[in-house]
């Protein structure tokens, strides 16, 4: 019978061999991630272990640590001995600072996405020869120095700065609008600093967009808005997620820009942690604060991996 060749046994055998071949290839590919993992393993994970150990020690009098076990650093995160009556009390100072950084990071991510997505899409729809140009065009401003750029922003938004002087001269306003040393200035600085971190991953993902799908959507009488929300955005999800991570996590720890543009009146997480290694002379507390921050980020990241790893299987 001719059907003999197509018996379930034969089929499963063929499938088995193919699966073996795919597996072998997949296993080889897997090894490609080794160099990165080794480098980060040695120079990222090991130092991190040092930090974990430090966070359970006691601060040495002039900075550094003493080899004596203690969980004070973690306890002190939420509870501190009252300075004046010595009772252990719930102290929200650190939480307030964490919350502030968190809010700034969220707003930065959202605005970067709102501005970055159209920009990346625009880049990805240029003629192929122009696209690499655009990638460079986005990065050139970052060849200057962060501090110098920030000073230029200050010049633009200060009370006697470019915008206010222009508006005053035009008679639009009769009193300068205070922008520098406000939350607005911090937000502007963060937006500036992190925009490319949103645009480039998005571009990288959008550039492979298959426009036949869009054409198909239009053939089915989809409106522009429907095409955007039902086709383009779902297809660029990996880029959106990558961009959001690259903006949100670093923005959470950013402190130089907020310090200069915000005038340093309110601390950010980055300041707070750096302070423990500087004048605070409390390394264990700094380490504990950093680990708590990382734990929070890790939890968020864990959900990301769980929600996206399903799609990795396409290979």
């Amino acid at each position: 019978m001719t059907t003999a060749t197509l018996s379930p046994a034969t089929l499963s055998k063929a499938a088995f061999f193919e699966a073996q071949a795919v597996k072998a290839g997949a296993r080889r590919n897997r090894l490609l991630s080794l160099p990165a993992l080794i480098i980060i393993g040695i120079f990222g994970v090991l130092p991190l272990l040092i930090i974990c150990v430090y966070s359970f020690l006691v601060a040495a009098p002039y900075g550094g640590v003493q080899w004596q076990f203690s969980t004070d650093a973690y306890l002190n995160f939420l509870f501190q001995r009252d300075i004046f009556d010595d009772t252990l009390q719930f102290t929200p100072d650190f939480l307030i600072i964490y919350l502030r950084s968190f809010l700034f990071a969220v707003v930065t991510t959202v605005i970067c996405l709102l501005l970055g997505f159209p920009t990346a899409y625009f880049m990805a729809t240029r003629p192929p020869a122009q696209r690499n140009w655009w990638v460079l065009l986005i990065t050139i401003p970052f060849w200057s120095n962060l501090l110098v750029r920030t000073l230029a922003i200050m010049f633009i938004i200060r009370d006697e700065g470019l915008i206010n002087n222009a508006l005053l001269a035009l008679g639009v306003i009769d009193k300068p609008i205070t922008m520098l040393y406000t939350n607005f200035a911090i937000q502007l600085g963060l937006l500036y600093a992190f925009l490319p971190f949103m645009v480039l991953p998005l571009y990288s993902s959008l550039e492979k967009l298959d426009f036949r799908l869009i054409e198909a959507a239009y053939d089915l009488y989809a409106t522009r808005r429907q095409v955007l929300w039902r086709v383009i955005i779902p297809l660029s999800k990996p880029g959106i997620i990558a961009g959001c991570l690259l903006v949100f996590i670093p923005a959470l720890g950013a402190y130089v820009t907020p310090l200069i543009l915000g005038g340093g009146v309110h601390l950010m997480i980055g300041d707070l942690i750096a302070q423990q290694f500087g004048s605070g002379r409390n390394w264990p507390l700094g380490c504990a604060q950093a680990l708590i921050l990382m734990a929070a980020v890790l939890v968020a990241l864990f959900f990301y991996v769980r929600n996206t790893s399903g799609k990795v299987q396409h290979g």
Partner: protein, 270 residues
């Protein structure tokens, strides 16, 4: 006519204007800082007149030369190494069946992103000091290149991964069916498809490395001052437009570099 239709379907209303606004936002401060490099006054806050003098003093400034050389060596090396590692890792983590530990590997790759800078700085410093103390190993400027490579990897990795996810694999399979070796298939098929991702990743890695202050300050050894260190440590003094001249020189170098590579690419394409 097919052509106008093709352009039409790609268009989304308002996206062009937003892209232009983004570019304006990015370039206005840079233009201002370039203009102020010509300020004859000695403050970056008051305009007094035009001079090229700050360029003279910047070009004659030996500290600037050293710092610029160190910065370029470190940033370029770290960008190349981290982009290669990130590309391989992105392939190794998306072109495979999910393996046990994939999630953990993803976390490890992104670890440098999550650790606050000062922590990485202190930890890396302790680590290198330990190596130097126990094994007498000191890689010189290699210490800085390694430290930079570590925190550049996630920035290079994410755009490349975003590109690879959901990418159509039929071409690779076709190549394999045609008995292409894995290397040939990679070189001819996968790599060209990856170029926009690699470009974006490398660009991000470069700007992250180029502007790093906190980690560099603690890891740098004698004579390894980079531009960010040089510029930041002047903050106790009023900044003179020399700093702007220095930044402008760097910007012009980058623009020159970009234009040349663009021209070469265009000539080759012809």
């Amino acid at each position: 006519m097919a052509e106008p239709r093709a352009i039409d379907i790609k268009d989304q209303p308002g996206f062009r204007s937003i892209a232009i606004i983004c570019l304006l936002v990015l370039y206005v401060p840079v233009l201002i800082l370039m203009i102020f490099s010509l300020n004859s006054g000695s403050l970056v806050t008051h305009w007094e007149g035009v001079t090229l003098g700050w360029y003279g003093s910047a070009l004659l400034n030996e500290e600037f030369h050293n710092a610029a050389r160190n910065t370029l060596i470190i940033s370029v090396s770290a960008t190349i190494i981290s982009t290669i590692c990130a590309t391989l890792a992105a392939i190794g983590m998306t072109r495979v069946k999910p393996w046990r530990g994939l999630a953990a590997a993803f976390m490890v790759i992104n670890l440098p992103l999550m650790v606050p800078e000062i922590i990485t700085a202190v930890a890396t410093l302790s680590f290198f000091a330990l190596i130097a103390g126990t094994f007498g190993l000191n890689f010189g400027i290699g210490n800085l290149i390694l430290a930079h490579t570590v925190f550049c990897i996630p920035f290079a990795y994410m755009p490349i991964r975003a590109r690879l996810e959901d990418m159509d694999l039929t071409l690779e399979y076709a190549a394999a069916d045609l008995y292409a070796t894995p290397w040939n298939a990679f070189k001819r098929i996968t790599l060209p498809l990856l170029v926009p991702g690699i470009m974006s990743g490398a660009a991000l890695a470069f700007i992250v490395s180029f502007d790093d202050f906190t980690i560099t300050q603690l890891v740098a050894g004698p004579g390894q001052t980079t531009l960010p260190l040089y510029i930041w440590n002047q903050i106790r003094r009023p900044m003179t437009p020399e700093i702007n001249a220095i930044s402008t020189i760097l910007l012009l170098v980058s623009i020159l570099f970009v234009s040349v590579s663009f021209l070469i690419a265009r000539r080759r394409a012809k």
